[in-house]
């Protein structure tokens, strides 16, 4: 009698932290045949995927595979570039954000974004940076409410203790890692349900990187996080699911494989994925 046992039952930390999605109300983000162009250059081709809520999903791939473009399509930032165009659908919850009547500005208010190079507003203080989101959206708050909000989000970004005496100092006077956490606090201040991160640690030193990764893991308890990274170890450390993108011969970036992170990194299904993640590419 030959038996086959189920997969080993040891759970990885990622699986414990993000029980396979609160897909109760459907995935947090869903794309349907998403395409994106820069002028005539077709950057992202026919990407369809579902991103579960309250977890971290990583997008990996070599340069030029369209992963950053894909990310920017999720909060309608792609269209900021002149000549940029999107086709297909992106659902946040049940709502297609590219539907005719949707206001892009409102969509961006619901989705936070953190960029590769920390970009705190230099002529604003730490306090004002965190408060910038609500202020730029015209939200009116009393002084006390604003103080509370600033402190709460600086705590969420694991930065409060380091800057509580420096709230009036310029945002640019902090170290690189602190600046990035400030940007995270700033993004959190508008209470988004989704946080998009475009290679958030690539400009930081290793210790700062680990702090950001820890932070991402903790935030995933409340938020849906999508993180683009070219560092595969980071993707495997931080995410529950990973998507691998690759630009084909036609230069169009497509989704090659998408699955649970520990499966993708131990037994990838596609040989291109295997070649890329083991570094034997090209």
């Amino acid at each position: 009698m030959t038996m086959t046992a189920a997969r080993p039952t040891t759970t990885t930390p990622q699986q414990e932290a993000a029980p396979e999605a609160s897909l109760a109300a459907g995935p947090a983000i869903r794309t349907e045949r998403l395409n994106a162009w820069y002028g005539t250059t077709h950057a992202v081709g026919d990407v369809t995927l579902e991103i579960p809520g309250r977890s971290v999903t990583a997008v990996i791939g070599p340069s030029g595979c369209g992963k950053s473009t894909l990310l920017r399509c999720l909060n309608r930032m792609h269209e900021i570039t002149t000549g940029a165009r999107v086709a297909g659908q992106v659902f946040l919850g049940n709502e297609d954000i590219y539907w005719q009547g949707t206001d892009a500005v409102e969509v961006r208010g619901r989705v936070g974004m953190v960029f590769q190079r920390p970009n705190p507003f230099p002529m604003m203080s730490v306090y004002e940076n965190v408060a910038a989101g609500p202020r730029l959206r015209g939200w009116k708050r009393t002084r006390a409410e604003m103080d509370e909000m600033v402190e709460r989000n600086l705590r969420r970004a694991a930065l409060w203790d380091e800057v509580k005496d420096k709230l009036r100092r310029s945002g640019a006077a902090l170290s690189g890692g602190q600046q990035q956490r400030l940007c995270i606090a700033r993004a959190l201040a508008t209470d988004p349900a989704i946080l998009l991160m475009d290679e958030p640690a690539s400009a930081l030193d290793p210790i700062a990187t680990y702090k950001i990764e820890e932070l991402v893991r903790e935030l995933a308890d409340e938020l849906t996080i999508v993180i683009v990274t070219h560092n595969m170890q980071q993707a495997s450390r931080v995410s529950a699911r990973t998507a691998f993108m690759l630009a084909g011969e036609d230069g169009v970036g497509r989704l090659v494989e998408y699955g649970k992170t520990d499966e993708l990194f131990t037994t990838p299904r596609d040989e291109r994925t295997e070649a890329y993640i083991t570094g034997r590419f090209g």
Partner: protein
């Protein structure tokens, strides 16, 4: 590949090179000497001829008619200040708005058109600007020579300067800041007003001051618009004195006494503009970060 493989040039070639270098150095030095020499010459003349004419009365009194001793360029100083200020109030907002239009709204082709138009206006001879404003306001709308007409003429000259410099400064604001603000869900106009402009405010201030300094020294437009005034005046609808005008009147006269006054007024005008420029340079590095 060994280092010794590079052959050394022959003696002749080396000598030819050295001679060419020397000739070049001599020519450049001579040209620079001429340029600096001219500057020193002008400054020297100004100081030597203008200083004697300066006294308290020169600053505070109004010009006396020919034949009478004394008098000053008081009204001209006040006039220059008033006309420049009004020109600034008109030109600076318009110039900044044009710059924002070109960099932030980015309508593509329209942006290029606006920039081209600004270049054209900047290239107009100032007398042509004066004629236009004279015909439009002095002969047309207002019916009289007036300070406001002078201010408008100066504004026309200032707008392209403000716009061009502001545009360059706005371009220096990193796109990442705009992206960060947009990603927070801010509408475009708030991104410009609350993030881009404040970041560039030092540069914008520089642009404004540069334009004012330039306008304060213009003569031709004021000839046909402000006309000049021998009395102190703050009435925008009346002709007004201005330093460049006063200098012209004094210098073009046949009287030596007035020539001396022209030197004095020139010195004041140059000194004021120089002061503003130096002050700008002193503050600029700290402020334009």
């Amino acid at each position: 590949m060994t280092a010794a493989a590079i052959a050394s040039p022959s003696w002749r070639v080396r000598r030819r090179r050295r001679v060419a270098d020397t000739i070049m150095a001599v020519l450049l030095t001579a040209a620079t000497a001429i340029a600096i020499g001219l500057l020193l010459l002008i400054l020297g003349y100004l100081i030597v001829n203008g200083l004697p004419a300066l006294n308290l009365a020169f600053f505070t009194e109004r010009p006396k008619p020919f034949g009478v001793e004394g008098g000053g360029v008081g009204p001209a100083i006040v006039g220059t200040l008033i006309v420049s200020a009004v020109a600034g109030i008109i030109a600076i907002p318009i110039g900044i708005a044009a710059a924002i239009f070109v960099t932030e709204l980015r309508p593509g082709r329209w942006g290029a058109i606006v920039r081209f138009a600004a270049e054209l206006i900047a290239g107009l001879p100032s007398i042509a600007v004066g004629v236009f404003v004279w015909s439009f306001l002095v002969r047309g709308l207002l019916g009289r020579y007036s300070a406001i007409a002078g201010a408008v003429a100066l504004a026309v000259i200032m707008i392209p300067i403000v716009a061009r410099t502001t545009e360059e400064v706005l371009r220096l604001v990193p796109g990442s800041l705009r992206e960060a603000a947009l990603a927070l869900g801010a509408p475009r106009w708030r991104v410009v007003m609350r993030v881009v402009l404040p970041t560039a405010r030092a540069g914008v201030a520089t642009a404004a001051v540069l334009a004012l300094a330039r306008a304060a020294g213009e003569t031709a437009p004021l000839l046909l618009t402000a006309l000049g005034n021998l009395f102190f005046s703050t009435d925008l609808l009346r002709p007004i004195a201005a330093l460049p005008l006063q200098i012209y009147q004094y210098a073009a006269s046949p009287y030596d006494d007035w020539h001396a006054k022209a030197w004095g007024a020139s010195l004041i005008l140059v000194a004021v503009i120089a002061l503003v420029s130096f002050a700008l340079r002193a503050f600029a590095p700290r402020v334009s970060r």
